[in-house]
C-alpha cells in the first residue's frame, strides 16, 4: 500500500516534468511530409498543370467548360473535368470543378451539404453571354469574359486554364486561380495491380479504399499586402508566409479539426475548427476574399514574395500580390471569389454564401462562469451566492462533464445533482442561466437509452468494415452519431426537449465540446478517415464539418424545444464555415500564460473576420494556474471578448474573482462591470453582425482600411466602430505602446483624456485597466447600474457617451429587443440613431416601419449624457418635446469615484424608444 502510494506520486511528478518541457505532443500529429497528398502537392512545380479549357459555353446561366490535357496523348489517362463558373449578386463568383458525372466515376465526390444557405441560390445571376477576348500578353490564347457585377468581370483563360476576377474599368486583377499552373486534380481510378493505397501513422491504418483523390491549386490576391483568415490556428492575425525566400522550414497552415492537448501559442498546426476562407488587404484600402467549400483535410501555404522567381512564369501584371497554395485531401473544387471592395464588403459577401451570425440572447453576451467542474448542487449554490456576496454580476453558471451520470450526456449524477431542476430554478429566480455540456460521444452502455436508441436505429458512424465505430472518449468506449444525416440531426434535436432531457428547464442551454470529433484512441486523437457516414461518404471527406453538423443539430434542437420562440445558445469547440448561424465558439483549451493571453486577440480577430463573431477565449487560461496579475489582465481583456467566460481545468486551483484578495477582487469586478455597462453597445454590435456580418470585434484596418500602420497590428482591436482596446500582455508592465489610427482624437475610456490619432503613444498603464479608447465622432450607449445579472438591467436607464470630433459632431446607434425571442425578426425591436451636431443631440428611428407585425416597446429613459471633447460652460440643455430643462454639470466619466470628469447632462429623462432632441443652451 505504501509502495503503491509512492508510485502514484511519482507519476504526478513525471507528468509535471514533461508538461513544462514539451507539453504539445507534436509527434502525434501528422506534418505535411507525413501526409502524402500534402507532400506530393508541395513538391509540384509551377506550370506543371497542362489542363486547358475546352468547349467553353454558356449553359443554364453559367459559363461552363471542360478541362482537358493540352497534349492529346495525355487524354487517354486523364478524363475531362467539368468546370462551371457562376455569378451572384454583390460581386461573388463561384467556380466549381468536378469529375464529369457522365463519365461514370467510381464514386461521387463529396460536396459539403447544408453550408451554403438556400437564399444564396436566389442571388444567382443568369449569365446570358460570354465575350471572347485575346488579352494582352497572352500569345494566341483566348479568354472568355462574363459579367460579374457593375464593376467587375470574371475571366476564364483557355490555355493554360486560369480563372480570375478583374475590375472592368482598369482591367486590374483582383483574385486569380491557377496563375502559376499548380492546379492538380487526382481523379478517382481503379487500383492498379498490387498498388498499396493504405496509409499508416503511429499504429493506425487508413485503408483508403478509393485511393488518391486530392486537389491543389494556387490562388493569387492582387493589390494585397497581407492575407488573413483560415482559422483555426494559434498564430498572428496577418498570416506569415510558410514557404519562399526568408522562410525557414515551416508547415503549411493546416485545416484539420483536432483536439490538441496544450496547443502552443504560435504554430500553423490545425486545432479545433476550420474555415477555408481567406481575406486579403492592401495599401489601396481594398480587400478581397476567397472561400473553398471543402471539408476534407486542407493545407494552405502562404508564399513569400519571390517564391516563384526561378519558375519563369511571368505574371501578367505588376500589381503587388500575395500568392497562396491550397491543397485538400478529397472533395471537389467549389470556390467563391469575393471582390470587396472594402473589408466589410468582403465579409458581407462571404456571409451571403454561408449565412449571417445568429442573434444571441442578451444573457449570452454577459459574463459566464465555468469550471471543470462545479462538483455538486452545494458548490453551485455556493459559487452563485459568492457572486452576490461580492456584488459581482454574472449571468451563466456552467457544468462540465462530471455533472452527468458517468459521462452519459442528458443525465445527472444522482448523488451530486439530485435536484437539477430546482437548482436551475434557483438560478433563474435571480435571472441567471445554466449551461450543461453535451458531447457527441455516446457511451456504449446497453443500459443507456440513448445508446440503445442510436444502435437500434443504426444512427452511428460506421467503421471501414461497416460496424458501428467504437472509439474511446470521456465515458470510455463510445460511438458517434452520424450528424451528416439530416434525419439523425433531427433525432438528436429531439433529445433536448424537456420531456427527453430530464431535469432540464427553460433556463438551461448547451455546450458542445469534443466535436472535432475527439477520439482518444483514434489517429491524431480523432476519427479514422475511412469511417463511413451517410451514403458511404468517408469521414475524410467531411471531417472538418462534423462538429458543424453537431452544433447545428444541437442548436436546432433548442429552437424546437422552445417552440421556435426561444433563441438557442450553444457553444461549440469545433466549427466550420457557416457555424456562425448556430452559435458561439471559443478557442479551446488554452493555457494560463501571457503568450496565450496575447494570442487570444489574433485568434478572435480571425474568427470574427471569417464569420464567427461570437467568440472568445477562456479567461484565465484553461490549463495551469494564472498568477493574480495575469488573471486580472485576462479579465480586463476578456471583458471585451464577444464571448466572455472564465473557465479552468479540474486540476487548477479555484480562481473565482474573490479568491485573490480584496484588491484583485475589486479589479476583476471592475473589469466585469465594464462589460456590463457596455452591454447595450455590445448588443447593438451583435445586431450589426446579425444584419451585416461585420464582426463585433474587428481588426483596426476594417475601420481604417487605408491606415497601413494598422494592417499587421493584432495587439489592439476595434470593438464596433467606436472603441479601440489593447491588452496588457506582460507582467508588471509600466507602459504600453498603443497605436491609435487615423487623424482623429481618441478619448481614454477611464480618464477622458484625448489622444491624437495616427501615432504610437507610450502610455502609462496601471493595474486598474488596460488601454481602451473611444473614437472621436462616436456615441456609445451604456447602462451604468450594476445588477446581479443582465436580466435585472433590462429596465435600467441609459447613459450616452458622446465623443466629439473636430467639428463637434458625433453619431451612434442603439438596438434593443426583448433579448430572448425571435420576435425581432418580425420587427419587434427598437433601433435608434443618435446624431450630435451644432450643439444638439437628436434621436432618430432606424427601424423600418414596414417590416413587421410585431412591436417592441421600452420605458427605459436616458439618465445621463456625457460629452467628451466639449468645452465646459453651458449650464443647461433644452429637452424637446416637453420643453424641459436639464442641468449640465461636471460629472464623473465612470461612477464610483475613480477616473476623470466630463461635461454631463443630468437627467434628461428622455425615453429611448422615442424621437427627441436635446439642445445645449
Amino acid at each position: 500500500m505504501k509502495m503503491k502510494h509512492l508510485k502514484v506520486s511519482l507519476i504526478f511528478l513525471i507528468f509535471l516534468a514533461s508538461q513544462t518541457v514539451h507539453s504539445w505532443k507534436k509527434d502525434e500529429f501528422r506534418n505535411c511530409n507525413q501526409t502524402p497528398f500534402c507532400k506530393r502537392a508541395r513538391s509540384r512545380k509551377p506550370g506543371a498543370c497542362t489542363l486547358i479549357a475546352h468547349d467553353v459555353s454558356i449553359s443554364d446561366g453559367d459559363l461552363t467548360a471542360k478541362l482537358i490535357p493540352r497534349a492529346p496523348h495525355d487524354q487517354d489517362q486523364i478524363k475531362p473535368l467539368t468546370l462551371s463558373l457562376s455569378a451572384y449578386q454583390d460581386g461573388i463568383m463561384r467556380l466549381k470543378i468536378d469529375e464529369d458525372p457522365s463519365l461514370d466515376p467510381s464514386k461521387k465526390r463529396f460536396q459539403v451539404p447544408d453550408v451554403v444557405i438556400p437564399e444564396f441560390e436566389t442571388k444567382k445571376l443568369w449569365l446570358q453571354s460570354a465575350s471572347t477576348e485575346k488579352i494582352n500578353g497572352d500569345d494566341g490564347s483566348l479568354s472568355s469574359v462574363v459579367y460579374l457585377s457593375d464593376g467587375y468581370e470574371a475571366v476564364l483563360r483557355h490555355d493554360p486554364f486560369e480563372v480570375y476576377v478583374r475590375d472592368k474599368a482598369g482591367k486590374r486583377r483582383v483574385i486569380s486561380l491557377n496563375s502559376h499552373g499548380l492546379f492538380d486534380f487526382e481523379q478517382l481510378r481503379v487500383k492498379k495491380g498490387d498498388e498499396d493505397w493504405e496509409e499508416r501513422f503511429r499504429g493506425h491504418t487508413d485503408t483508403r479504399p478509393y485511393g488518391p483523390q486530392s486537389i491543389s491549386f494556387d490562388v493569387s490576391f492582387y493589390g494585397s499586402d497581407f492575407v488573413y483568415g483560415i482559422p483555426e490556428h494559434a498564430t498572428s492575425f496577418a498570416l506569415k508566409p510558410t514557404r519562399g525566400p526568408g522562410v525557414e522550414e515551416s508547415e503549411p497552415y493546416r485545416l484539420f479539426n483536432l483536439d490538441v492537448f496544450e496547443y502552443v501559442h504560435d504554430s500553423p498546426f490545425g486545432i479545433y475548427g476550420s474555415i477555408p476562407f481567406m481575406v486579403s488587404h492592401g495599401k489601396s484600402g481594398k480587400s478581397s476574399g476567397f472561400f473553398w467549400l471543402n471539408a476534407a483535410e486542407m493545407q494552405i501555404d502562404v508564399l513569400a514574395n519571390g517564391w516563384d522567381a526561378e519558375d519563369g512564369i511571368l505574371m501578367p501584371t505588376k500589381q503587388g500580390r500575395i500568392d497562396t497554395f491550397w491543397m485538400s485531401e478529397a472533395g471537389i473544387v467549389d470556390t467563391f471569389f469575393f471582390v470587396g471592395l472594402g473589408p466589410k464588403d468582403v465579409v458581407k459577401q462571404y456571409m451571403s454564401v454561408t449565412g449571417l451570425p445568429a442573434m444571441p440572447q442578451l444573457f449570452a453576451t454577459a459574463y459566464h462562469q465555468c469550471r471543470w467542474n462545479y462538483r455538486d448542487e452545494e458548490d453551485v449554490e455556493n459559487v452563485d451566492s459568492k457572486f452576490d456576496e461580492h456584488d459581482i454580476p454574472y449571468d451563466v453558471l456552467w457544468l462540465d462533464i462530471d455533472h452527468t451520470d458517468g459521462r452519459r450526456y442528458f443525465t445527472w449524477d444522482k448523488l451530486l445533482f439530485p435536484h437539477p431542476d430546482e437548482m436551475q430554478r434557483k438560478l433563474a429566480a435571480k435571472g441567471r442561466h445554466m449551461v450543461t455540456i453535451v458531447d457527441p460521444h455516446i457511451k456504449r452502455d446497453n443500459s443507456f437509452h440513448l445508446h440503445k436508441d442510436a444502435t437500434r436505429r443504426g444512427y452511428y458512424v460506421k467503421d471501414a468494415t461497416g460496424k458501428d465505430y467504437d472509439g474511446w472518449c470521456w465515458p470510455g468506449s463510445s460511438s458517434y452519431p452520424d450528424m451528416l444525416n439530416p434525419e439523425i440531426r433531427s433525432w438528436w434535436g429531439e433529445k433536448f426537449s424537456y420531456e427527453n432531457y430530464i431535469g432540464s428547464t427553460p433556463s438551461l442551454y448547451i455546450w458542445n465540446d469534443m466535436n472535432e470529433p475527439s477520439v482518444f484512441n483514434g489517429p491524431e486523437v480523432t476519427m479514422p478517415r475511412d469511417a463511413l457516414h451517410l451514403g458511404g461518404v468517408e469521414h475524410r471527406e467531411l471531417h472538418n464539418a462534423y462538429g458543424y453538423y453537431f452544433h447545428m443539430a444541437t442548436a436546432d434542437g433548442l429552437v424546437k424545444r422552445g417552440d421556435g420562440e426561444d433563441r438557442p445558445f450553444v457553444l461549440s469547440r469545433a466549427f466550420f464555415a457557416g457555424s456562425q448561424r448556430h452559435g458561439a465558439v471559443w478557442t479551446g483549451d488554452n493555457s494560463a500564460d501571457w503568450d496565450h493571453l496575447r494570442v487570444s486577440v489574433p485568434m478572435i480577430l480571425t474568427l470574427g473576420l471569417t464569420g464567427m463573431s461570437f467568440s472568445g477565449a477562456d479567461v484565465g487560461g484553461y490549463f495551469g494556474n494564472p498568477e493574480p496579475e495575469l488573471l486580472v489582465r485576462w479579465y480586463q481583456l476578456g471583458a471585451y471578448y464577444p464571448f466572455f467566460r472564465g473557465h479552468a481545468h479540474q486540476d487548477t486551483r479555484r480562481r473565482e474573482p474573490w479568491l485573490f484578495g480584496e484588491r484583485n477582487r475589486e479589479l476583476m469586478r471592475d473589469a466585469i462591470r465594464v462589460r456590463y455597462t457596455l452591454l447595450p453597445y455590445f448588443y447593438t454590435l451583435f445586431r450589426e453582425a446579425n444584419v451585416s456580418g461585420v464582426p463585433v470585434l474587428r481588426p483596426l484596418w476594417m475601420e481604417f482600411p487605408f491606415d497601413e500602420a494598422a494592417f499587421s497590428n493584432d495587439e489592439a482591436f476595434m470593438l464596433g466602430n467606436s472603441l479601440l482596446v489593447q491588452g496588457v500582455y506582460s507582467e508588471r508592465a509600466k507602459h504600453a505602446f498603443v497605436y491609435l489610427p487615423a487623424k482623429e482624437s481618441w478619448y481614454d475610456l477611464r480618464t477622458g483624456t484625448a489622444y491624437t490619432g495616427g501615432e504610437i503613444h507610450k502610455l502609462e498603464v496601471s493595474e486598474e485597466s488596460i488601454p481602451a479608447f473611444q473614437r472621436a465622432g462616436t456615441i456609445v450607449p451604456r447602462k451604468d447600474r450594476f445588477r446581479r445579472s443582465s436580466t435585472q438591467m433590462v429596465l435600467d436607464p441609459y447613459t450616452l457617451v458622446i465623443a466629439l470630433n473636430n467639428s463637434q459632431a458625433a453619431e451612434g446607434e442603439l438596438y434593443i429587443d426583448d433579448g430572448k425571442s425571435f420576435d425581432f425578426m418580425h420587427g419587434a425591436y427598437i433601433h435608434r440613431r443618435f446624431v450630435f451636431s451644432n450643439g444638439q443631440l437628436t434621436s432618430l428611428n432606424m427601424a423600418s416601419s414596414s417590416l413587421g407585425r410585431s412591436r417592441f416597446s421600452s420605458d427605459c429613459i436616458v439618465e445621463r449624457i456625457i460629452l467628451l471633447g466639449y468645452t465646459p460652460g453651458p449650464k443647461s440643455a433644452l429637452v424637446e418635446p416637453g420643453n424641459r430643462k436639464a442641468e449640465i454639470e461636471l460629472g464623473p466619466l465612470r461612477l464610483g469615484g475613480r477616473g476623470g470628469a466630463a461635461v454631463t447632462i443630468r437627467k434628461p429623462g428622455v425615453r429611448v424608444a422615442e424621437d427627441w432632441t436635446i439642445k445645449i443652451l
Partner: protein, 500 residues
C-alpha cells in the same frame, strides 16, 4: 468509537445578540428617506448635504432622486443609481440589513419586509416575522451548542492537563530508567569485553596445543557472536537507507507515458484521456477538490475565502470526521518495527503508564538489584568462563540494550511530542495520536493532527500534506507538502474548526 468532531471549544466568538424588535421611534420615513438607517436620518436633515467621503455636496432635492451625485453613494441610499450605495432594510420583526444598491428595484425580493422593491413591478410579501422567529430559534440552538462547546472545551483542557502531567512524569521516570540502564549496560559491556579478552587468551592457549586450522574454526565462532551483538543497530541503519531508497523514480513508468504505439485501443484511449485528467488510466476522473490545492499562503482574510468556501462546503454537507481509535502510524519516523508492532507497543505503554508512574521506582530498584546480583555472580568466577556463563552475559546484555532502546525511543517520541504547539491552553494535546475521518462521496479524508492528512479513494491514497501548524488563531489546522498536483503545485490542506 465514533466521535463527532467537537471542535467546539475553540475560542468562542462573543456574540452580542440583540433581539431585532427595535423599531425606530420616529414616524415612518418620508419617501426621500428610503434606504437610510434610522440612526443616520439626522445626517440628511439639512438642505445641503455633504457626501460622506467629503468629495461633494448635494441638495436635499438630490437625495434619492435616482441620479448618482456622490461617488460614495451618499445621496442615493434608496435607489440603484450609485454603485457604491447601500440600502437599509428595517425588517421589523427580524434583524435589519444593508443591501448593495444593485438589489434595489431589481425585481427580486431581498429584504424580508420587501422594502427594497418599491417601484411596484413585483410584490414582496413581508416575511420578517417568520424569518425572525426561525432565526431566533436557530440562534438559541446555537447558543446552547456553544455552551455545550465551552463545557467540552473545558473538559478537554482538563484532560489534557492530566495527560500532560502524566506524560511529563513518565518522561522523567524514563530518563531515570535510562540512566540506570545505561549504567547496567555499560557494566555488561565491560563484562563482555573482559569475556572476550579471556576467550582470546584461552584460544591462544589452545593454539599452542592444536593445529592451526582447528584454531581458525574455533576462533571464528565467538567472533561472529560478538559481531552479532552490535548487529541490531546496523540492521536498523540499513533499513533506514532502504526505506529512503524507495523514492528514486521507477523509470518504466516514464517510458510508458512517452510512447503511444503498440498500445491496445483501450490503453491508448485511456492514456490520451489521462493527459487531461492527470490520472494514469481509468474512466472515472478524479475531481481535485479545492481544499487540496490551496496555496493562498499568508494572504489576508479575504483571500482565505478560498479555503473557507471549502470548509463551508464540508460543513454544509454536514460532514463529520469520525475519529479512528486506531493509533496513527508515524510514517516519518521509519523505525524498523512494522506498523502493527508499534501500535501495540504504544498502546501497551499507554495502558501501563498509570501503573508505571506509581510503581516504577521500585521496578528500577529491582532491575538494579538483579543486574548487580547477576554481575557479581559472574565476577565470582575466577576460573575460565564457562560457555554457559558467557552466553548468559550476552543474553542479559541483549536484554538490557533492547530495553534501553525502547526507553530511548519512548523518550524521543515524548520529547518530540512536547515540541508541538498544542494551543493556548494545550487544548489540542489529546489530538496527538488521534485521527479523524470524513467520507465525501468517493473519497475518504483522513486527518491526523500533528502528523499528516490523506485522501483515500478505494485502495489508492493521495497525501494531502504533512502537519504544518495551526492557523488563524488555532481555528485551523494546516497541512502542507502533499503529493504534487498534476500540472500544478503540491497539495495542501486546511481544516477549519467549526462549532457544531
Amino acid at each position: 468509537m465514533k466521535l463527532t468532531l467537537s471542535f467546539t471549544f475553540l475560542s468562542l466568538a462573543i456574540f452580542s445578540f440583540i433581539i431585532p424588535s427595535h423599531v425606530s421611534s420616529s414616524s415612518l420615513p418620508s419617501v426621500s428617506f428610503v434606504g437610510i438607517p434610522p440612526q443616520d436620518e439626522d445626517y440628511f436633515k439639512d438642505e445641503v448635504i455633504k457626501c460622506k467621503n467629503g468629495s461633494k455636496k448635494f441638495t436635499k432635492t438630490q437625495l434619492n432622486d435616482d441620479f448618482c451625485d456622490c461617488p460614495d453613494g451618499t445621496d442615493e441610499p434608496g435607489t440603484s443609481a450609485c454603485p457604491q450605495g447601500k440600502f437599509y432594510c428595517r425588517n421589523a420583526g427580524h434583524s435589519s440589513s444593508l443591501l448593495f444598491s444593485s438589489r434595489v428595484n431589481d425585481g427580486i425580493c431581498d429584504c424580508c419586509d420587501g422594502s427594497d422593491e418599491y417601484d411596484g413591478k413585483v410584490k414582496c410579501p413581508n416575511t420578517c416575522w417568520e424569518a425572525g422567529k426561525a432565526a431566533r430559534e436557530k440562534l438559541k440552538k446555537k447558543i446552547e451548542m456553544y455552551h455545550e462547546g465551552v463545557a467540552l472545551r473545558k473538559q478537554e483542557i482538563e484532560q489534557a492537563k492530566q495527560a500532560i502531567a502524566r506524560d511529563k512524569a513518565e518522561l522523567l521516570g524514563l530518563k531515570n530508567e535510562k540512566e540506570v540502564l545505561e549504567k547496567v549496560v555499560k557494566q555488561l559491556e565491560e563484562q563482555i569485553q573482559k569475556l572476550k579478552q579471556r576467550e582470546l587468551l584461552e584460544k591462544e592457549d589452545k593454539i599452542k596445543e592444536a593445529s592451526n586450522e582447528k584454531i581458525e574454526n574455533e576462533k571464528s565462532g565467538p567472533e561472529e557472536n560478538v559481531d552479532g551483538q552490535i548487529e541490531p543497530l546496523k540492521i536498523s541503519d540499513v533499513e533506514k537507507m532502504g526505506l529512503s531508497g524507495e523514492s528514486p523514480s521507477d523509470q518504466s513508468e516514464k517510458d510508458e507515458n512517452e510512447s503511444t504505439e503498440g498500445l491496445s485501443r483501450e490503453e491508448l484511449g485511456r492514456l490520451i484521456a489521462s493527459r487531461w485528467t492527470g490520472k494514469k488510466t481509468g474512466d472515472q476522473v478524479e475531481e481535485i477538490d479545492p481544499a487540496k490545492s490551496d496555496h493562498m499562503g499568508n494572504r489576508d482574510k479575504e483571500e482565505s475565502a478560498y479555503e473557507s468556501s471549502y470548509d463551508e462546503h464540508i460543513d454544509n454537507n454536514a460532514l463529520q470526521f469520525n475519529e479512528k481509535t486506531q493509533k496513527h502510524q508515524e510514517k516519518g519516523r521509519k523505525d524498523a518495527r512494522d506498523a502493527e508492532d508499534e501500535e501495540s507497543v504504544a498502546e501497551d505503554r499507554e495502558k501501563s503508564s498509570d501503573i508505571a508512574t506509581l510503581s516504577h521506582q521500585s521496578w528500577l530498584v529491582k532491575i538494579q538489584e538483579t543486574a548487580q546480583n547477576f554481575l557479581q555472580s559472574v565476577n565470582l568466577f575466577s576460573a575460565p568462563v564457562a560457555n554457559l556463563d558467557a552466553n548468559q552475559v550476552r543474553k542479559e546484555y541483549d536484554n538490557y540494550t533492547a530495553k534501553l532502546s525502547d526507553i530511548e525511543l519512548r523518550i524521543s517520541s515524548l520529547t518530540e511530542k512536547f515540541k508541538y504547539d498544542f494551543g493556548r491552553e494545550k487544548e489540542f494535546y489529546l489530538f496527538y495520536d488521534r485521527c479523524f475521518e470524513s467520507k465525501q462521496d468517493k473519497y475518504v479524508y483522513k486527518v491526523c493532527p500533528f502528523k499528516d492528512a490523506i485522501q483515500e479513494e478505494g485502495s489508492s491514497e493521495t497525501r494531502l500534506g504533512n502537519w504544518e501548524k495551526f492557523g488563524n488563531s488555532y481555528r485551523m489546522m494546516m497541512f502542507s507538502n502533499g503529493d504534487g498536483c498534476w500540472n500544478g503545485p503540491d497539495r495542501s490542506l486546511k481544516v477549519t474548526f467549526i462549532c457544531g
